[in-house]
């Protein structure tokens, strides 16, 4: 805990004051709550029952989302392994390490929506921009966790390979990679699961997938179609999570 007794209570007091100030700033009053509840009633009445009649549109969006997630995961694994090696303190020389860390930090700081906005500008509207967005995201998650894994490898095997006279490439290929390979598979599947979730929203800024369909249904007040899309998203995300959990259990 804290070295000085007053730090803890002071933190709590500051948090409390901040929250009160926060809540005041929200400008919530009885009239607003009442209006909100009335509108919520209307929305839910319009949303039920969910409307699956436009299922071809729904299917198209979902398929696009899955394709974006799959391709970006593959690309992210291929490009992410070198980045992870660069970002691992124990195998990369200092300047390379700094560069690798920089790529990882950039990949995880910006929310995928912001990356998507930039990439939509670069390669135009559509799933390709979304796929590239998710690939950038791989550097922040896949590469980061893999780098941490590489930092924890057993030195013995690396030294043994080096003792045979192997160069840097040989050491990486036969001393480092075999030790982290199961982890690569596990992380790849996990990353796919995350990309599947993210692929449902980046369509909001035009980067393809079910997000585009969803956003359009919101702007057209087709709440029954919105609900149908949401139900399918929940189902797909659950299946993805289950597949990834099952595979990770098998591999590790």
């Amino acid at each position: 805990m804290f070295a000085y007794g007053w730090v803890g209570p002071a933190l709590w007091a500051a948090l409390g004051a901040f929250l009160v100030w926060n809540a005041v700033n929200l400008e919530v009053d009885a009239a607003r709550i009442q209006r909100g509840l009335a509108r919520a009633g209307t929305v839910f009445a319009r949303a039920f029952p969910p409307d699956f009649q436009r299922w071809p549109l729904l299917l198209e969006g979902i398929v696009e989302s899955i394709q974006m997630a799959t391709l970006s995961t593959a690309l992210g694994a291929v490009l992410g392994v070198p980045v992870a090696i660069m970002a691992a303190r124990n195998v990369a020389p200092r300047p390379v390490y700094v560069l690798g860390r920089g790529v990882v930090t950039l990949g995880r700081t910006f929310h995928e929506i912001i990356v998507a906005i930039i990439l939509v500008k670069a390669v135009g509207f559509g799933p390709l921009a979304g796929m590239l967005t998710l690939t950038v995201n791989s550097f922040g998650f896949f590469s980061k966790l893999l780098a941490e894994q590489i930092e924890q490898i057993d030195r013995g095997q690396v030294e043994a390979v080096r003792a045979t006279g192997a160069g840097r490439g040989g050491v990486l290929l036969f001393g480092v990679l075999p030790q982290v390979l199961p982890r690569v598979v596990g992380l790849t599947v996990y990353q796919w699961d995350i990309h599947l979730r993210q692929s449902t929203i980046i369509g909001i800024v035009g980067a393809g997938g079910i997000g585009t369909t969803l956003y359009n249904s919101f702007s057209r007040y087709d709440y029954d179609f919105t609900l149908a899309i949401l139900l399918v998203i929940i189902a797909i995300v659950c299946v993805g999570e289950w597949v990834s959990a099952w595979t990770r259990r098998r591999v590790q």
Binding site: V28, V43, A74, T109, H111
Partner: protein, 275 residues
Amino acid sequence: MDATPRSVTRGAAAAPRRWERYSRGQRMTRLGLRIAIALAIVWSARGMGVRWDWIADSPAQLADLFGRLLPPDWSFARMLVAPLLQTINIATLGTVGAIVLALPVAFLAARNTTLNRATYLFGRLLIVVSRSVDSLIWALIFIIIVGPGSLAGALAVAVRSLGFVSKLFAEAIEEIDRGPVEAVTATGAGRYHVLLFGIVPQIRPAFAGVCIFRWDINVRESTVLGIVGAGGIGFVLNEAILGLEWARVGMILLVILGVVVLSELGSAWLRQRLT
């Protein structure tokens, strides 16, 4: 995984014994899986609808974009203080809201404290729905209900975080030591007192860590909620993008980078202290 140590003995005199890491069936399964993955990747690539002329143009587009983003409009930073505070407000209020909502849900979704099978499934259902729908989608929903602004943002963050926080709380509850619970029960305490004095003290350390961790995630998510109209710095970002004021966009991105890094450092420091 491919480094299959095979010791194959094919001596003329020795018995023709062959040691292999995988059986024939396993090899077939592995081959099949690999083909399936390769096919899935090819199928996905075909769905991307790649326009090569757009790709050929993309370096020029990116150079153009960064040429406009940089240098950032430093004077715009003054205007960003208020939206930035709003973003942090959204993240903080949303996290607090999520914690308040998560406590009952976690007790329902933990196998050892739930009332019966139906309540357990109900708790799990809430967690799944909350976790599967992204905060931006929740924001869209709450904007319809309460109108654009930071209230919609805070509600979106709260509902989105509910599943994450409840899930981790529920796991912490399932891992508690039965001893203190039985001791409190033995004093004749009711259900409520058992919760308060037998279970809650045991999950407090995990609790603090989860809350701070989620707050950190929420700060990052709150930076973009404004893009759909839910307040904070994302709102200014969207306006700047729509107005094609790229130097301002550059400044906003820089501020977001700073805030996210700071909140991560701060939360890491706090978590180390508290847990």
